[in-house]
Amino acid sequence: MAGHSDSSSSEKKSSEAMNDVPTYSAENLQNNMKVIYYSRTFMSIIGGVLAGILGFTGFMGFVLYFLVMAITSIGLIAKAKFSVHAYFDSWNRIILDGFMGGLMSFVLFWTFAYDIVHIF
């Protein structure tokens, strides 16, 4: 079991010789997750505004959302200087985390921008 639970912030986990659990600084991991969350949320909002201005409706808008999320993932991996394991414990965190959370913000700002630009 390579997972760990987020306990109090300043403690380092001690590794037991039996299980060989990898040791992480939980506080720094939380900080990195916060950075990813902020980045993804902001990019979802900007992607929504972009989809609204371009006049996408229906399926094309969601295609744009996945494109914006993919670009954000690549940007985050580049920010981590391609050595993901120095900053996170698994690839899934930097690629998939916050994906669905941003979808709601995206649709909201997509609707806003589309209404402002195309309907009023």
Binding site: K12, Y24, S25, N28, N31, K34, M43, H118
Partner: protein, 106 residues
Amino acid sequence: MGLGFIIGVFGVLILSHAAYSTIQYRGLLKIMEEEFSGPPMNVVLELLLGFVFCIWAALTVPGKFLSIHPDSEENRIVSLSANLDFMIFNHRAKAFPLEIDMKLKH
């Protein structure tokens, strides 16, 4: 963080200018009674530029990544929280004479 923030604001301003241009373009199309198929090419370029600025701001403003290895260079100092449990008062400073004046002053 200051520069990234300014670039982010700039990107948002460029996007809103592009939105305004698209609104005017739609007004023009309504007069000429044509269908809206997409914004004009310069608006698309402006959107792309604003998008690039916003990507740059989104990656730099939230803060740096911190290394999670406990034995890396930047994690050398472990700090405990300033917790009352760890504060001790029974140390050798009690050998110093008291400095406070014990008399009440009027």
